[in-house]
Symmetry: C2
Subunit: 104 residues, 2 copies
């Protein structure tokens, strides 16, 4: 459930979104998760979406270059385009360097 | 709904959790939101929790010192203690520097 991340520094992509459409979303979302896991530098992913349609997905990566390569992935680019036109009324993406972390 | 953050760099605290108890949670959560907004360096907050109990809250701050001061706030420390003993079966906190961001 939680991403099993290494000792910092590593990188996080925070994707906050509001869902507006459903058609084909679940399949593509599952496929993108599967595809992300196969990418170099992928460390893990955490996701939550409430009944109000607001969702936050955080994916973790070993370095910025892996994040750039994933964003440019051809199949992922098609999904990003559909997200923009069909699935999200709004979103923000923030790319961060994790400086320190702690657990329960 | 989305945090209105400035041009990077700024800082993010990603808090991923699993809820286990409810008693007093809503009041404290609302109070902590209100109190956080009054702290120096606070920029905004985004939150989502699904029906499976997994939640992600991201708060945004101007600098690491503001994050440390908020963690050490007396009223917040009591809430953190209750979170640990009553409200969350598990959680991870990650403190990050936002390197770049982009919107829809």
């Amino acid at each position: 459930m939680f991403a099993s991340t290494p000792k910092p520094p590593y990188y996080a992509v925070i994707f906050t979104s509001v869902r507006s459409g459903d058609s084909g979303y679940a399949e593509t979302s599952e496929r993108m998760n599967e595809l992300a896991r196969q990418q170099p530098g992928f460390l893990g992913i955490e996701s939550a979406r409430g009944d109000d349609g607001v969702g936050i997905t955080v994916s973790y990566w070993s370095d910025l270059e892996s994040i750039r390569a994933w964003k440019a992935n051809a199949e992922h680019r098609i999904a990003q385009q559909r997200g923009k036109s069909e699935w999200y009324s709004d979103y923000v993406t923030r790319v961060c360097r994790v400086e320190y972390d702690y657990e329960r």
